[in-house]
């Protein structure tokens, strides 16, 4: 840069990548990453536990499917920041606020995909199982669930990746995982290395979790691999 020595000293270089930053702030970065993973995993697990019975109910009672999908569509239209802002005056600037928001968004994706998966089970398969004397419970666990599993797992993967990205917005109530670093870098005199480090880690976390879920899906659906090859 063509600037005088004094002003060069006033404005230190502000690189996008800095190993020094990562070395000096390892503990803070790891803590933010842990918070991020915790929020993501808890949100997706809780959402899955709620979504599954809802989707089964909607699949059993086709009249409920419309309202369930309609409500989920309307909720999904509400931006995350607005949702956190609506929740915060009641639940406080707490981890709970962020988790409620994350669970709601993940829920919508999961219910949709699980419902589509359950609805896509061929009628012939259901008929055959019924003919073999399968009751509703066994039908669900041993016939419908395995057939719907690929669709359900696609939903879990989409929900997980979106949740990782959404957690950053939790910064508005103080629980944003890596989003905390991100905004701290912005407020800390536009410190680019901090912003870039948290961004790269967030994207990497999303990709790693997606990969883990893909491997799990493959392990649980050996028949899908066999028919593909």
């Amino acid at each position: 840069m063509v600037v005088g020595a004094v002003s060069a000293a006033d404005q230190p270089p502000n690189p996008w990548f800095s190993l020094q930053f990562a070395r000096e702030n390892t503990s803070a970065i790891v803590a933010a990453l842990q918070e991020h993973v915790l929020l993501t995993v808890v949100a997706v697990v809780v959402a899955s536990v709620i979504a599954f019975p809802l989707a089964v109910l909607a699949a059993r009672r086709p009249r409920l499917a419309g309202p369930v999908l309609g409500v989920s569509g309307v909720l999904y239209t509400i931006p995350s920041l607005a949702l956190f802002a609506i929740l915060a005056p009641f639940t406080g600037a707490t981890r709970t606020t962020v988790l409620i928001g994350l669970v709601l968004y993940a829920l919508l994706v999961l219910v949709r995909n699980t419902l589509v998966g359950l609805q896509s089970v061929p009628d012939d398969v259901i008929d055959a199982a019924r003919g073999m004397g399968y009751g509703p419970g066994r039908m669900l666990w041993q016939v419908e669930l395995p057939v719907a599993l690929p669709a359900i797992m696609t939903g879990v993967r989409v929900a997980t990746v979106s949740t990782v990205a959404l957690v950053t917005v939790g910064v508005i109530v103080g629980y944003g995982g890596l989003g905390q670093l991100l905004l701290a870098g912005f407020q800390n005199n536009f410190y680019r290395a901090e912003i870039m480090t948290s961004t790269v880690l967030t994207v990497a976390l999303a990709l790693v979790l997606d990969l883990v879920l893909l491997v799990i899906t493959r392990a649980f659906t050996p028949w899908a691999r066999r028919s593909a090859s």
């Binding site: 802002a85 009641f90 639940t91 707490t94 606020t97 990782v164 959404l166 910064v171 994207v203």
Partner: protein, 240 residues
């Protein structure tokens, strides 16, 4: 709720918050001035509009061309998957501290990038999945590649392109609220200011205003989508 009890400051806030939010909505002062609801809503809609127009200028020609050639499906899938993994807040922050200057310009650019995947995907799918018989018939009638695109493929792709536009508009309007966190404008300013000053009536009001704006926009765009879809195609399945 236990979470509220653990935070005395918020417990006091939780009391009568609805009452105070109604009072906030009834105060005419909150609607005027540079940070009033009116100015912020206009700014929010302007940011949304500019970002979507920019994204359309890039995504529609590329998506339509790739769909016409029937190539690039993998690229479209990769772009949409990758865009889901990149947090919007991160991109907004990166653009805000980059060399694009201050004000709403970095916000509009960042949002435009997020509007590209739905527009690109729907334009590509819309054009590439036109019934091959219709394309063959047009070819057999002696139409050139350009004429097939203009007179056959594009009209048939309109419902999907409109669905992509609707998704993009609603998504950008939602994401535009995050701009306030990195010194941008729009209705998110109310939420950010409210949290900064611990005025939770303003936080709640801002959240409700943004939610309503996005829902209204969704309704408007659904109507537009229906209006531009030719009568004969309305019963077909729409990918949203």
């Amino acid at each position: 709720m236990t979470a509220v009890a653990a935070l005395p400051a918020f417990a006091a806030d939780g009391e009568g918050i609805l009452q105070r939010t109604i009072t906030w909505f009834n105060d005419p002062l909150n609607y005027r001035g540079p940070n009033g609801v009116a100015a912020l809503t206009v700014e929010h809609l302007w940011i949304t509009f500019a970002a979507v127009v920019l994204a359309c200028a890039v995504a529609l020609p590329v998506g339509i061309w790739m769909g016409h050639r029937g190539r690039g499906g993998t690229l479209v899938v990769v772009v949409s998957n990758l865009s889901r993994a990149i947090p919007t807040l991160a991109l907004l922050t990166i653009f805000a501290v980059g060399d694009l200057g201050f004000g709403n310009r970095p916000t509009i650019l960042a949002l435009a990038i997020f509007a590209i995947p739905p527009l690109l995907a729907n334009a590509f799918v819309g054009v590439s999945q036109v019934d091959p018989d219709a394309r063959d018939a047009a070819r057999g009638m002696g139409m050139s590649g350009w004429q097939v695109l203009r007179d056959v493929e594009l009209p048939l792709a309109v419902p999907l392109v409109a669905a992509g536009l609707r998704t993009a508009v609603v998504q950008v309007c939602a994401t535009a609220s995050l701009a306030a966190l990195v010194a941008g404008g729009g209705l998110g300013v109310l939420i950010n200011l409210g949290f900064g000053q611990r005025r939770f009536d303003e936080v709640l009001a801002g959240g409700l205003l943004i939610a309503v704006l996005c829902l209204v926009l969704e309704l408007v765009m659904a109507t537009v989508q229906r209006a531009v879809t030719p009568q004969a195609l309305r019963r077909g399945r729409l990918v949203t």
